[in-house]
């Protein structure tokens, strides 16, 4: 088991009213699992993913990631946890414009203090995994959307994290490059990665082991098991 969430509540207070975005969510992710989370817009998917990724802390509830109580970690420990254990893939890639592909991919390794030579080797390997070994020196504005997202995936896997989190990774892509990106996730899954992915797209969700749906902040307990 990689993570376990129990009775997670997340509330945002706007003025005097508190709005509950996540309502007693229970979630476990097993080693090697590929989980898709679906739900209508505004249902709290991104909020949940941010909590899973330790970018945010819940209002209440317990969250254990890799045996550590996340709610008790300091800012610095959270940063290190994100750095070493979690890889993020965002809908809009978020590559740094002033760095080329390989430098972007090497960023998490830089934060780990890995030496330049090893950093570049490992970043190049990650780029090979996503099939972009011929685009290492390209800057983000010289890459297509699909290529950018593949660079972002390479960045997410460069530090060999325990868990990959993706928030609508195909949401900004056409169907062909979307399919390419999904193939990469499949391949990563086959090679043992654990993945939690948010998506609107039923076909995308169908590739996962399991689908769970969320509605108005309530995560359905029963999971749809794919074949």
């Amino acid at each position: 088991m990689i993570l376990e969430m129990r009775d997670i509540v997340k509330e945002y207070t706007l003025g005097r009213t508190a709005s509950r975005v996540l309502d007693h969510v229970n979630l476990t992710v097993e080693e090697g699992e590929y989980l898709a989370i679906m739900g209508p817009s505004g249902s709290g998917k991104t909020t949940l993913l941010n909590l899973i990724g330790c970018l945010d802390v819940p209002t209440s509830g317990s969250y254990v990631f890799a045996g550590r109580d996340v709610t008790k970690l300091s800012q610095k420990q959270l940063a290190d946890l994100r750095n070493r254990e979690i890889g993020f893939v965002f809908q809009f890639f978020y590559l740094l414009a002033n760095m080329n592909a390989i430098e972007n991919v090497a960023l998490p390794l830089l934060y780990q203090g890995v030496h330049k030579k090893e950093r570049m080797e490992r970043a190049a390997e990650a780029l090979r995994t996503v099939g972009l070994e011929d685009r290492m020196k390209y800057r983000p504005d010289q890459l297509s959307g699909g290529q950018s997202q593949r660079v972002a995936i390479a960045r997410a896997i460069a530090a060999r994290p325990r868990l990959l989190l993706a928030d609508e990774p195909t949401g900004a892509l056409d169907s062909q490059s979307g399919a390419q990106v999904m193939d990469i996730f499949d391949m990563l899954h086959r090679s043992g990665s654990s993945i939690v992915m948010i998506t609107h797209d039923r076909n995308v969700a169908a590739r996962a082991d399991k689908i769970r749906t969320i509605c108005d902040g309530v995560l359905a307990e029963e999971a749809v098991e794919n074949e």
Binding site: K76, R82, Y94, N98, L107, P108
Partner: protein
């Protein structure tokens, strides 16, 4: 760290115009400070040069009582002070910063010097063989003193150009017989200072006597002093230092040596005339007016610093997404903090370097166009650049802290 700096350069380069405009306040502030400091230094160097004389480097060592100069002539050597001889003088020459020294006696406004019916009332010097080279005199007519003048106790006299023209009014003085204290002296030469438009004050004598009232100098070999005036009078020591900067030390060391060898304690001591001290007093006077200008330039730096803070704030806002992403990837707060601090510091340091360059240019132009004396001070330039870096760190702190405290989710959500 180096990588951070390189990245900061990249970032600044991608906003060339904005970066330059942001730096402008720093550039102007630093440039004005460098210009002002250059004029202060130029002025003070000129004062030093005027007072001490570039390349002359002569310090006078004389007897003092309780720190005040002793009345030098018409007096016997005070008790507890033995007369200096060649051996002592040679020891002074061995001091590290001393090039050469000379023992001499002087009698200002000496009377009893005649040529025919012309009476001369100038300064009479009893000098050793080293006096002319030490004080930078050159022979214009005839010859200087030689070993044999001393060893054979010759009654030879040498005049400076002014004394020669006063006494002889255009006639050739060589071979003429002067009457000094009723003793006949043969004029063997005329000397003149090497540096004609030299400094007003070069030695203690000049300091007290230099004025148009001085009719010139007559030099005789020192051994004649006892004959002329019949008792040991206090001696003075002229010390030529290797460099102007060594003058104070050379003078002090020479005075110490004389005190050790000749003086058996008490209120009477040898002491060097510290012209540098006097120079620094004048410098302080000249500098104080300009120092106030530095404060005004400092305001420009303050305004520049606030400009940097402002633009860094804008930059943090613009790059919220980048900051959020970096945090999501596991960058710690301190890393973000340093990124922005480095950027601010690189920005202002660059401004500082440009300011220094501009200031040097301006100073050169001032000295060229308005003939204001300027001198570039390397330490001041280094301090200026270092200070502009500090300004960046200081004014970059608030934006950098703001950036480091950004919540990654809010930062990523922001479009």
């Amino acid at each position: 760290m180096l990588q951070n700096i390189a990245l900061s350069f990249q970032g600044l380069w991608s906003h060339k115009l904005r970066s330059f405009l942001t730096m402008l306040g720093i550039i102007i502030g630093i440039a004005s400070i460098i210009t002002i400091v250059s004029t202060i230094k130029g002025t003070s160097e000129q004062i030093k040069e005027n007072l001490i004389g570039a390349g002359n480097n002569v310090v006078t060592v004389r007897l003092t009582q309780d720190g005040n100069p002793l009345e030098l002539s018409y007096m016997p050597l005070p008790g507890g002070v033995r007369p200096a001889d060649e051996e002592v003088r040679a020891a002074v020459d061995q001091l590290p910063d001393v090039r050469e020294s000379s023992l001499y006696r002087v009698r200002p406004y000496a009377g009893n010097i005649f040529w025919k019916n012309n009476a001369f009332s100038g300064d009479l010097y009893g000098v050793d063989l080293h006096y002319f080279p030490v004080n930078g005199y050159q022979v214009r007519l005839g010859r200087g003193f030689t070993e044999r003048d001393f060893s054979e106790y010759r009654k030879a006299a040498i005049l400076d150009a002014r004394a020669a023209s006063r006494l002889f009014e255009g006639e050739n003085p060589l071979g003429m017989i002067l009457e000094i204290q009723s003793e006949p002296y043969t004029v063997v030469g005329v000397v003149e200072k090497e540096n004609k438009n030299a400094p007003a004050i070069e030695t203690m004598q000049d300091y007290y006597l230099y004025a148009d009232t001085s009719a010139g100098c007559v030099f005789v070999p020192e051994h004649a002093w006892n004959v002329l005036f019949r008792y040991d009078e206090p001696q003075m020591l002229a010390v030529r230092a290797e460099k102007t900067d060594d003058m104070a030390r050379a003078g002090r060391d020479a005075a110490d040596l004389l005190n050790k060898k000749l003086v058996s304690g008490g209120a009477v001591q040898y002491e060097a005339v510290n012209l540098l001290e006097r120079a620094s007093e004048l410098e302080a006077l000249a500098g104080s007016a300009n120092t106030q200008l530095i404060w005004i330039a400092g305001i420009s730096l303050l305004v520049g610093g606030i400009g940097v803070m402002n633009i860094m704030m804008v930059s943090v806002t613009e790059r919220t997404r980048e900051i959020g992403l970096k945090k999501a990837l596991g960058a710690r707060r301190t890393r973000i903090l340093w990124q922005f601090l480095t950027e601010a510091a690189v920005l202002t340091s660059l401004g500082g370097i440009m300011g220094v360059a501009g200031g040097i240019g301006l100073a050169k132009m001032l000295s060229h166009v308005m003939s204001i004396p300027t001198a570039v001070s390397i330490p001041a330039c280094l301090v200026a650049v270092a200070f502009s870096t500090v300004i960046g760190l200081f004014f970059g702190l608030v934006p950098a802290v703001k950036a480091s405290k950004l919540n990654p989710i809010d930062a990523l959500r922001r479009e």
